[in-house]
Symmetry: C2
Subunit: 253 residues, 2 copies
């Protein structure tokens, strides 16, 4: 259905409302060997040709935002089923983001276990994981306002870990306390005392559930395998409801 007349919410000028191209961008974060990484694509065309950018693309007619974000991510990363937790981060623009005109973008945040990115053909935009640290310190330049979006995403991710059980979104189905701690350390950029973290993680009601199984083959004493407790698991409609209370304290910056 196309809207041909607007008689409501009429701007003072009494003209038809402006229409904007709307894109979704995704800040996909994961932890690879104890480092926080972000998924970026290399732009093959102007503007910002050769620069790195967040994966994303236009919202299509009849699509919702999360839907569009999931679709774009799946397309550009070359995966079928989206792993991890996807949520909306915030909207940017439409003014002054793109040299070619006003574009509104709705940024999203994906917290996911490490997954392999498909190496597409050479004519497609190449997606790959990049250490967040190296993106922030200027080793790489991001296109558009994607640096700011990344910064906002990081701040969101950091605080998510404090109050929600979403740290586990970076892990697989089952994980050890040490693996979960590595997530917190990578996202927060700090070191945490293993003993205190263990106490807090296992002692918080409604957070973790012991599987009864253990790791084997690694160095050191085998570790117990945990999974998210049912109350902490995301359910359709109520993503990640349960809250860590009191929060897992992040050391003061």
């Amino acid at each position: 259905m196309t809207i041909t007349s607007y008689t409501w919410y009429m701007p003072a000028s009494h003209t038809a409302p402006e229409r904007f191209p709307v894109t979704v961008d995704v800040v996909a974060l994961t932890v690879r060997n104890s480092q926080l990484n972000v998924l970026l694509i290399t732009r093959l065309i102007e503007p910002f040709k050769g620069k790195l950018a967040l994966p994303g693309g236009f919202v299509l007619a009849g699509e919702d935002l999360l839907e569009a974000a999931g679709r774009e991510l799946a397309e550009e990363a070359g995966v079928e089923h989206l792993p991890g937790h996807l949520e909306q981060l915030g909207s940017y623009g439409p003014k002054g983001r793109d040299p070619r005109g006003d574009v509104l973008t709705v940024a999203h945040l994906l917290l996911a276990p490490d997954f392999p990115v498909l190496s597409a053909g050479s004519d497609a935009e190449q997606a790959a994981w990049y250490p967040v640290r190296e993106v922030l310190d200027g080793t790489y330049q991001l296109a558009f306002d994607h640096s700011r979006i990344l910064a906002d995403a990081l701040e969101r991710a950091k605080s998510k870990l404090e109050y929600s059980p979403l740290g586990a979104a970076f892990c697989g189905e089952e994980f050890t306390i040490a693996q979960l701690r590595a997530v917190y350390e990578a996202v927060w950029g700090t070191r945490l005392d293993p003993r205190n973290f263990h106490r807090k993680a296992t002692g918080t009601p409604g957070f973790l559930e012991d599987t009864g199984r253990m790791t084997a083959g690694d160095a050191g004493r085998p570790a117990a395998l945990f999974r998210l407790a049912p109350e902490a698991r995301p359910t359709p409609g109520h993503p990640a409801r349960a809250v860590l209370n009191p929060p897992l304290m992040r050391p003061r910056d």
Copy 2:
């Protein structure tokens, strides 16, 4: 500037990107005689004629989102200068929100001291404060998906009070601890112990600053007047930076 061709971010179909009407809506909250209130307008036309809705309107060309939200709010509430703290809440749509077609809306949240709403002429949409409680319990019906947006806004407001100094955004420049406590009680919908709240509010470094002045004329012992500490005041670019740590604990639901 009008965009006539898109050669980047090209959807698979290789057609020009869809364009959407984009609106901003504002959930304006305030505390009036110990009750949380929300600013709503009465719709004068279809759809949802006669129903209540959040103030809002179309984003204009060359406008940014916060700008548009501030403008719409000022227009519909009939105020010149926006009081309080305005921030983006999140985006909704574009699918299935409006019976007439896809519209993307970016919801915003305003936390403000009680301010008088201009009673515009009878041909304009009438804006007024409504107790949030009565909106939630079904006494009033909201248009579009505005009930959901209001619910999300409330959740955001509640958690904002825990970790940020934004409770003070509901108060004027100077306020007493009891006034601040009334804000927390109204937003959280709980009663707080005055003595413990006083201890926490005045004992949190970087939150409040004693003005040295006192109230007079009210019932009971005069109260000291406080203002936000400089570290907790919003500055252009860094809105409400300082964080309450540890947070002001909200009683478990």
